[in-house]
């Protein structure tokens, strides 16, 4: 018991990257075990990972956008609207001048949304939620209008843009081929890991690379530079920041412009998605909100929001690639996870939580055992349900920026 207690204390004192590595390793192990025991090899195939990466990318961008805005103290529920603007801007620039222009187009349109949010919330003190919802509605309306105006003559459909040329994909060689070879051998665990990793290293586009680079880049900028310190101070205690000569308005504007740009990139990522090249009305499907949820799940930290986006993208990828039966297999994995957590909590003497986890695990297992597959309708909705559940369970000890959502007026602090 004492060694276990010490091990647990040791986990708490490990550096962040080591803890993340352990969590990732446990997750991969769990998937490998589930895939082996249920025979659902699609759970860990490189194809699934590739699909997951494609699907998580827009969410990751949105979540990063949320991170920037909320760290500066502005709730950005308008991410969805900025993303919609981004999809349109990317399609409009993309069908004329190619994929790089699409990225820029999405970014610029997203910035417009972010700037609007900044003017409303920072300069005019509009409630952040109201402004965010307004921007989402505005994004819907503006893109509809512009599509009818500019896309209808070219594509013949007011809800759709002409086809946009996508990025060439590339792989990290020779690593990707080697991993593919290992995956093909279908060895227990080894092939699963190779599949998951291989998917990350092949089928890449510049936008995917940009997304993954922006996670550590955001961390370094926000936590390791004086610029980031100032920006975060606006979200923690703007009155104190102002008293120290930080131009709170300026930093909030910068944060929201970056936030809009990131959401716009998320839109561009949707438009340039290999499965659906171009703008389509309603394409975002609430991914801006899901990005926001992923960021909250990630406790307003870059690494955490990456995990949140990955979770959502992965479940979405599984249901798209392999449908109901694979999602069904995930239930099995979930019950293993619940039992594992229950054991952990028993060791921590948190009896009540452990009991709840155990009961939940048993219930999930009962569902798994008594059904063959999950209905199609449920499967396609699985990512949202998983997000909801994970948020509800994991959001117990979150630490949002202290001054988030508060209206701040210059010179009114005491």
């Amino acid at each position: 018991m004492t060694t276990l207690t010490r091990a647990r204390a040791g986990f708490g004192t490990l550096p962040g990257w080591a803890r993340s590595a352990i969590v990732v390793a446990v997750g991969v192990g769990l998937l490998a075990v589930t895939a082996t025991l249920t025979g659902q090899i699609q759970l860990t195939s490189s194809g699934t990972t590739q699909a997951a990466v494609r699907l998580l990318l827009p969410i990751l961008f949105a979540a990063l956008g949320g991170l920037w805005a909320e760290r500066a103290g502005v709730i950005n529920i308008g991410l969805e609207g900025m993303m919609i603007l981004g999809t349109w801007g990317a399609a409009w620039a993309g069908y004329q001048w190619g994929p790089y222009a699409a990225v820029v187009g999405g970014l610029v349109f997203g910035v417009l949304g972010g700037l609007l949010h900044a003017v409303a919330t920072v300069s005019f003190g509009v409630n952040h939620i109201v402004s965010g919802v307004a921007i989402t509605l505005l994004g819907l309306g503006v893109t509809k209008y512009l599509s009818t105006l500019l896309f209808l003559p070219v594509s013949g459909n007011p809800r759709q843009s002409p086809r946009v040329e996508g990025f060439e994909t590339f792989s990290v060689q020779p690593l990707a081929d080697a991993l593919a070879a290992v995956e093909a051998q279908q060895r227990v665990v080894l092939s699963d890991v190779a599949g998951l990793l291989g998917g990350l290293l092949s089928g890449l586009t510049p936008l995917v690379v940009l997304g993954f680079v922006l996670v550590p880049a955001s961390y370094l900028l926000l936590w390791r530079t004086s610029f980031g310190l100032r920006l975060r101070s606006c979200g923690e205690n703007p009155v104190a920041a102002e008293s120290l000569g930080v131009q709170v308005y300026l930093y909030k504007y910068i944060a929201l412009i970056v936030s809009g740009a990131l959401a716009g990139l998320g839109g561009a990522a949707l438009t340039l998605n290999p499965g659906q090249l171009g703008y389509l009305e309603g394409q975002t499907g609430g991914r801006g909100y899901i990005g926001l949820a992923a960021m909250i799940f990630g406790n307003w930290r870059p690494g955490g929001l990456l995990a949140g986006s990955a979770l959502f993208g992965y479940v979405d990828g599984v249901q798209l690639r392999a449908g109901g039966e694979a999602v069904h297999a995930l239930l099995y994995g979930a019950s293993i996870l619940a039992v594992g957590l229950a054991v952990l909590w028993v060791l921590q003497r948190r009896w009540q939580t452990a009991a709840i986890a155990l009961v939940a695990g048993a219930a999930v297992y009962a569902v798994y055992f008594s059904t063959e597959t999950v209905p199609r309708e449920f499967a396609s909705y699985a990512p949202q349900i998983v997000t909801l559940l994970v948020l509800a369970v994991a959001s117990q000890r979150l630490r949002p920026p202290a001054a988030i959502g508060m209206e701040y007026r210059r010179g009114e602090g005491d």
Binding site: L229, S233, E236, N237, A240, A241, L244, G245
Partner: protein
């Protein structure tokens, strides 16, 4: 170069409807502790905001080291070597000590090792023991204050404004702070010390300037003046004191708390342990203690805002341990919360709406489940009259009142509806001398009428003056009792920190 670090000449500042400062002259010599005294609302804060560049004066000039300056923002004041430690700390809890200090001053030494080394060096100057990478939320009040001082020193301040620095400290911490200030004064730092605690002012200041209603009423030599004379300069009239000597204690129990336990949210030491106390009708029971030792939790448990883990609470013989907060209020508990702006009032709502809070189920403000606005207005006017709340009317927002008048309104509200028990948490914190006297008088009268009062206060003079019995709280337990007739603030302070070894 002159002898004066700072000279304010003819400063006048008007706000719509009031003159906050009128023709104020203030000359602070280099290397002295200059105290600025005055009631709340006398204009001290406005004057300091002007000196620190937060607000601009309508008339008058500021000179620093003999050279005339114009501050458009705090940044200008900082550049001129003036720093301010605000009464409400300007710290972000979720940032580290170093981040709080470096924020806004990153250009000097960056945010890396060099800056941290400088912070460690300055921390030694002010006696701060926290590591630079600790989160501020883990620091106590005294350490936070030292972080604030390091913050201004890091920016090269030589003249430091301390806005009511002792309001949040216990006596021992005040002594430590003063020792630090004396040491720094010897190194040539100049301090502007704002306070209305006159004993402390006399202990630390080299010169005292008194402000009343926005105007200078004079200077005093701390060696020659008594606290009483100073206070009379501040209020311009005779002085109140919290003394209540003739006992009105009866043997009728109103509140009895037995074996009260409150477990911490996440394991760890329990917040309250084995608390037993009895308050009789006509008795004021004072609870002394360093903040954060369970007083807040005790009050919130008695009010039903927290659920006791174990133990019983009875009010006039009825067990209310499981009752809800509203039921307890209806049973006759009045509650003056410790932070009036956060828990006592709705700042943006009119006074009459604030009158209804906590009484929403009782006459006169409610009838048949509905709010009776007219009756609420009428009864608010009664409170305004009876408790001397200075306000233009009952329809103004609560935020428009000064702290003292807000507090008088709350006390008036809580004494409405014939309570049998009043829980008063820091009833005169941050209110001016006049309002303080008013509130003391109200409490005395209510006590004489047979009200039981549970008084929690950090102001030991108040506690000793008003209480019939004093109990000392330390780490969630009542560790000692003291007789207010004989105990001194120093003895109480020692018991509060556990420095006296055992129970007194």
């Amino acid at each position: 170069m002159t002898d004066y670090a700072v000279e304010l000449t003819g400063i006048t500042k008007r706000f719509p409807g009031v003159v906050a400062n009128s023709d104020i002259h203030l000359a602070v010599r280099r290397g002295e502790v200059h105290a600025l005294c005055g009631e709340n609302g006398a204009g001290k804060s406005t004057l300091m905001k002007i000196l620190y560049g937060i607000q601009q004066p309508d008339e008058g000039t500021i000179a620093v080291d003999g050279a005339q300056v114009r501050f458009r923002s705090p940044a200008d004041a900082i550049r001129a070597g003036i720093g301010m430690v605000h009464q409400h700390f300007m710290l972000a809890d979720n940032l580290t000590v170093a981040e709080n200090i470096l924020l806004g001053a990153e250009a000097q030494l960056g945010i890396g090792a060099k800056a941290k080394a400088r912070i460690t060096e300055l921390a030694r100057t002010v006696g701060l023991n926290a590591r630079p990478d600790m989160l501020v939320e883990r620091l106590g009040v005294a350490d936070r204050q030292r972080v604030e001082i390091v913050k201004v020193l890091y920016r090269g301040a030589r003249t430091i404004i301390l806005d009511e620095p002792t309001a949040v400290l216990v006596p021992q911490e005040v002594d430590d702070l003063f020792a630090t200030l004396r040491g720094m004064r010897a190194e040539g730092f100049t301090f502007l010390f704002i306070s209305h605690k006159l004993d402390e002012v006399r202990a630390i200041a080299d010169t005292i300037t008194v402000i009343r209603r926005g105007a200078c009423v004079g200077s005093a030599d701390p060696g020659a003046v008594t606290s009483r004379q100073l206070a009379e300069m501040m209020v311009g009239s005779e002085l109140p004191s919290p003394e209540t000597r003739d006992s009105t204690v009866t043997d009728r129990e109103v509140l009895r708390v037995t074996g009260l336990q409150l477990a911490a949210d996440e394991g760890g030491r329990s917040l309250l342990a084995d608390v037993d106390l009895v308050v009789h009708a006509g008795e004021v029971l004072g609870i002394a203690g360093v903040e954060g030792n369970g007083q807040t939790e005790l009050v919130e448990t008695i009010m039903g805002m927290r659920r006791a883990t174990d133990g019983t609470i009875t009010l006039s013989g009825t067990d209310i341990t499981r009752a809800g907060t509203l039921a307890r209020r209806e049973a006759g508990i009045g509650y003056v919360p410790e932070d009036r702006t956060r828990y006592g009032l709705l700042a943006t709502q009119p006074l009459w709406a604030n009158r209804i809070l906590g009484h929403q189920s009782r006459p006169p403000v409610a009838r048949g489940g509905l709010i009776d606005r007219e009756a609420a207005r009428r009864d608010t006017r009664r409170i305004v009259e009876e408790f001397d709340v200075r306000t233009p009317g009952v329809d103004v927002a609560a935020a428009a009142l000064s702290g003292g008048n807000q507090q008088k309104l709350i006390v008036g509200r809580e004494l409405s509806g014939d309570p049998v028990l009043l829980i008063a948490s820091h009833p005169t914190r941050g209110v001016d001398v006049g309002a303080q006297a008013g509130i003391w008088e109200v409490l005395r009268r209510a006590r004489a009428d047979g009200l039981a009062v549970l008084l929690i206060s950090a102001d030991l003079d108040e506690l000793i003056g008003l209480s019939d019995t004093i109990k000392v709280m330390l780490r969630g337990r009542l560790v000692a009792a003291a007789d207010p007739a004989t105990v001194t603030p120093e003895e109480l302070g020692a018991a509060m920190t556990g420095a006296d070894g055992a129970a007194a």
